[in-house]
């Protein structure tokens, strides 16, 4: 069977999307491959399809638990049962069982911290690995917007696994980050498939308003000006909740919020309601979206500034996956810059936090590798360290474990300073885009060193797109009304007994 036949048979598609075929061919010719494909262009197909040709196990390293689960769930939906996700959520018994049966799976999803476990590495070394995939590969680069310290070891792990055929996947990586990925993963002369980050069917609009209240009033108008699905992004959970309440009170229906502070079950309900068209609009933090495969999101609105260009592209990339005209609207008001700057600050420990934490770690007898949860909690409380800050510090302390305390402290301070400046530069680069006077699309592409090849008429506000006209012209999408049946018994019957029988019941 050739790849086109597999595409039809296994995936139910008749054609490839841009970039997919190139990546797959490159892999099947046996080349390590670095692929940059825009968000929403079907990246996962690039490693899923080859597995049916190679017929060997595919290992996928993925940074986010929820993303991993979503992708595994989607594979299972397609009827592929041979999938396992190995992460810290499994109980030790389940983990042991799964590890024993590891050779019976086609797809193994792993979080990077699982790869730090010797037993797992040993087991993986015994497998015949067809393909080693690093999803969201930009996480390996500290110049990437979502740097994850535990990704840094992936290069070593590749060596331990005897350099299996490797695919590094990302949606957003500048030239610097691409170079960094290759270096850190120790990929020698990989093939590169870099498709344009441009999503030509998404029109970019930035609206400047004079106050928070004006933004709020405008938001209300906007959500009433289109009938398809939309996501509104906020920088804080609180804002997502309170704006939802405001919009609900102002008569907007089928809208709710989603953020990481909600219980898992409630979060899952909201996500599913949105996927099934039961909710039209989601007010969310950046926690929402990864792995949410909804084709017909028409509009993505940013109520706050995002964390930089890459984050922005990831988030708006959730619009228009069906290829139809969609819109990305950013509501800006003077002074909005403060919030993302503040949030970026919080990602890194201050000099004071570094000095004090290191001093405390130094006197701990257990040593950095054996910190007890209780000690971690104490230290974090004492120096008000966020989760990210704590992981950041401990990662580097481990990395520089053989240096003396003074040197480590100085090194960490140096790194944190450099990162801080880098973060600010990133944000300032985005702020410049907000106020740019020429084509927004060209400007975005220049950030990624890509030239604009083909231009959609409906491009951006700078190229003459008017928000209200655009929204009015978007494809219509009727929401299915999913109301409850009249009585609780009828509703229960509708769920558990076939429709025909329910009717019988009603007449009898």
């Amino acid at each position: 069977m050739n790849v086109e036949e597999i595409l039809v048979k296994q995936f139910g598609y008749s054609t490839f999307r841009p970039g997919q075929k190139e990546v797959i061919d490159s892999l099947l010719e046996g080349n390590h491959t670095l692929a940059m494909l825009p968000t929403g262009s079907g990246k996962s197909l690039c490693y899923q399809l080859p597995s049916y040709v190679l017929n060997k196990v595919v290992i996928i390293v993925s940074p986010l638990l929820s993303l991993m689960q979503d992708q595994a769930e989607q594979l299972k939906m397609r009827g592929e049962k041979s999938v396992i996700t190995l992460n810290s959520f499994l109980t030790s018994v389940q983990k042991r069982e799964a590890i024993e049966r590891l050779d019976s799976y086609r797809f193994i999803y792993l979080s990077p911290e699982m790869l730090a476990i010797p037993r797992i590495i040993e087991r993986l070394q015994k497998l015949e690995i067809g393909l080693f995939v690093i999803d969201e590969a930009h996480c390996i680069s500290q110049w990437g917007y979502d740097f994850r310290t535990d990704y840094l070891n992936l290069g070593n792990i590749r060596s331990k696994l005897n350099n299996p055929l490797t695919l590094a996947l990302t949606a957003t990586a500048t030239k610097t980050v691409q170079a960094d990925i290759k270096e850190k993963l120790k990929l020698e002369h990989p093939n590169e498939v870099i498709t344009s980050v441009d999503r030509s069917n998404i029109a970019y609009i930035v609206e400047e308003h004079s106050s928070y209240d004006e933004k709020l009033a405008r938001l209300k108008e906007l959500v009433n000006s289109f009938d398809g699905s939309g996501i509104i992004y906020f920088s804080s959970k609180k804002a997502a909740e309170s704006v939802t309440r405001f919009l609900q009170e102002n008569g907007v229906k089928d809208i709710d919020y989603y953020h990481g502070g909600m219980e898992q079950e409630q979060r899952m309900l909201i996500q599913q309601q949105f996927l099934h068209g039961q909710l039209r609009i989601i007010c969310a933090t950046s926690a929402f979206g990864m792995g949410v495969n909804k084709n017909n999101v028409r509009v993505v609105i940013h109520f706050h500034l995002p964390g930089g260009m890459e984050a922005y592209l990831q988030e708006i990339g959730r619009a228009g996956r069906d290829g139809k005209q969609s819109a990305a609207i950013l509501l800006y008001c003077d002074g909005d810059e403060g919030l993302p700057l503040h949030l970026a600050e919080q990602q890194l420990p201050t000099f004071y936090q570094i000095e004090e934490t290191l001093a405390s770690l130094h006197i701990l007898e257990a040593g950095i590798w054996n910190i007890e949860p209780k000690q971690e909690i104490e230290l974090r409380e004492m120096y008000a360290l966020t989760d990210v800050q704590w992981r950041w510090i401990t990662h580097f302390v481990k990395e520089f474990e053989y240096e003396d305390q003074f040197m480590i402290t100085e090194k960490l301070k140096g790194i944190s300073k450099a990162r801080r400046i880098e973060n600010q530069n990133k944000l300032e680069r985005f702020f410049r885009w907000v106020s740019v006077s020429c084509c927004r699309r060209v400007n975005i592409l220049s950030y990624f060193d890509v030239a604009l090849t083909e231009k959609n008429q409906t491009c951006c506000d700078r190229c003459g797109v008017v928000t209200d006209e655009l929204l009015a012209s978007l494809p219509h999408d009727d929401l299915e009304v999913k109301e409850l049946k009249k009585t609780w018994r009828q509703e229960l019957a509708a769920i558990l007994i076939g429709e025909a029988k329910t009717n019988e019941e009603q007449t009898s």
Partner: protein, 359 residues
């Protein structure tokens, strides 16, 4: 007069009244979260809070502190200077009474008995219903509403073991659920059914249901818990009547005591072979106080547990009377009343454990 903002405030106020300045707010936190420690389990018996144990597993320390602070600012509470614990004021008392009357806890609520079964029962049931609903409507692909790996594995195994016609399973689930829901008030039925996910509709969140019914979100949670605990109680009483639903949860049994440490079980074994407290502590290389905790725990969990080997009939009587006259559950206060150095805190705890809920 202060207007209560939500049902959670009422719960906190209620607990503070019950603890009556004898426990810190963190005892409330542990109790609502359902902490599996001897202290918490003993508290719920001592103070009669078995219904609320473990009913809010996701509550945070911060949420509780904010609420207590608000109640304090509004004059519903005062702080005891000696230990920083809280007492309810008369305004608080009055407000609480009004609220409890209007929004009583579901009478079926029994956290002590069911906290271990509540979550597994609901996640399995909801996923099983979603699955059956899709299969009988000839759709074999859907996103599971429960992401927990254990729950998914359970449903898969259930369907593999029960090979009969899926339509039939659906029919039976419908019949059993109808029978159970018929015994519940209209509002509870509505909430339960809205929470379900089926072929044509994804279930509603608590917040959505609360808006629809114009009820407080916390209250909706408790009504829902009331329904679940009612079902679990029915299975305990007459499992034969609900073979399909009961089979969902029959592998998980026992109340919060049963879930307590194996260590206590070990102590019990030694006690049964006639070993003394000191001997057990020595053999097990544990502190005497730890073994005492185990024994108090055993006294709570087993109504027939004999405490006579730890004190004479007479001492038991003295303590019993002291605890009645002091009308408190504070060990120190009781100790002062008995005014006898021969009587230990351990003995007082044992007597209180035996007296249990009937105080």
């Amino acid at each position: 007069m202060y207007k209560m903002q939500n049902y959670f405030e009422m719960i906190v106020l209620y607990c503070i009244r019950i603890f009556n300045g004898e426990r810190s707010v963190y005892a409330i936190l542990h109790m609502l979260k359902g902490k599996k420690s001897s202290q918490t389990i003993q508290d719920v018996h001592l103070f009669g809070l078995t219904n609320l144990l473990g009913t809010l597993p996701d509550i945070t320390r911060r949420q509780l502190e904010i609420t207590v602070d608000k109640l304090l600012q509004s004059g519903l509470l005062i702080v005891l200077p000696q230990n920083g614990y809280y007492l309810i004021t008369s305004i608080g008392q009055e407000l609480l009474q009004q609220h409890v009357k209007k929004y009583p806890f579901p009478e079926t609520l029994n956290g002590f008995r069911f906290q271990n079964r509540t979550q597994p029962y609901w996640s399995r049931l909801s996923l099983l219903i979603q699955t059956i609903s899709h299969i009988i409507h000839k759709q074999n692909r859907f996103y599971p509403i429960q992401r927990n790996f254990q729950t998914q594995t359970w449903v898969k195994r259930y369907l593999a073991q029960n090979r009969q016609n899926r339509v039939e399973i659906g029919r039976h689930l419908f019949d059993e659920l109808s029978t159970l829901l018929e015994k519940r008030p209209e509002k509870e039925r509505a909430i339960f059914v809205k929470r379900l996910t089926g072929i044509h509709r994804i279930g509603s969140t608590y917040s959505q249901i609360s808006k629809e019914l114009h009820e407080d979100e916390w209250y909706v949670r408790y009504l829902f818990l009331g329904t679940i605990h009612f079902m679990l109680q029915e299975f305990d009483d007459s499992s034969v009547q609900y073979p399909y639903l009961y089979s969902i949860i029959k592998d998980i049994q026992g109340n919060s005591h049963t879930q307590l440490t194996n260590s206590t079980q070990m102590t019990l074994k030694y006690l049964q072979t006639g070993k003394s407290l000191e001997e057990i502590a020595f053999i097990r290389r544990l502190k005497r106080s730890t073994i005492e905790d185990h024994i108090v725990e055993l006294a709570y969990s087993d109504p027939l547990f004999n405490i006579s080997r730890f004190m004479s009939q007479k001492i038991e009587e003295v303590i019993r009377i002291a605890s009645k006259t002091s009308r408190t559950k504070q060990l120190r206060a009781i100790k002062e009343i008995v005014a006898n150095d021969e009587i230990s805190f351990f003995q007082i705890r044992l007597v209180l454990a035996k007296a249990g809920d009937d105080q």
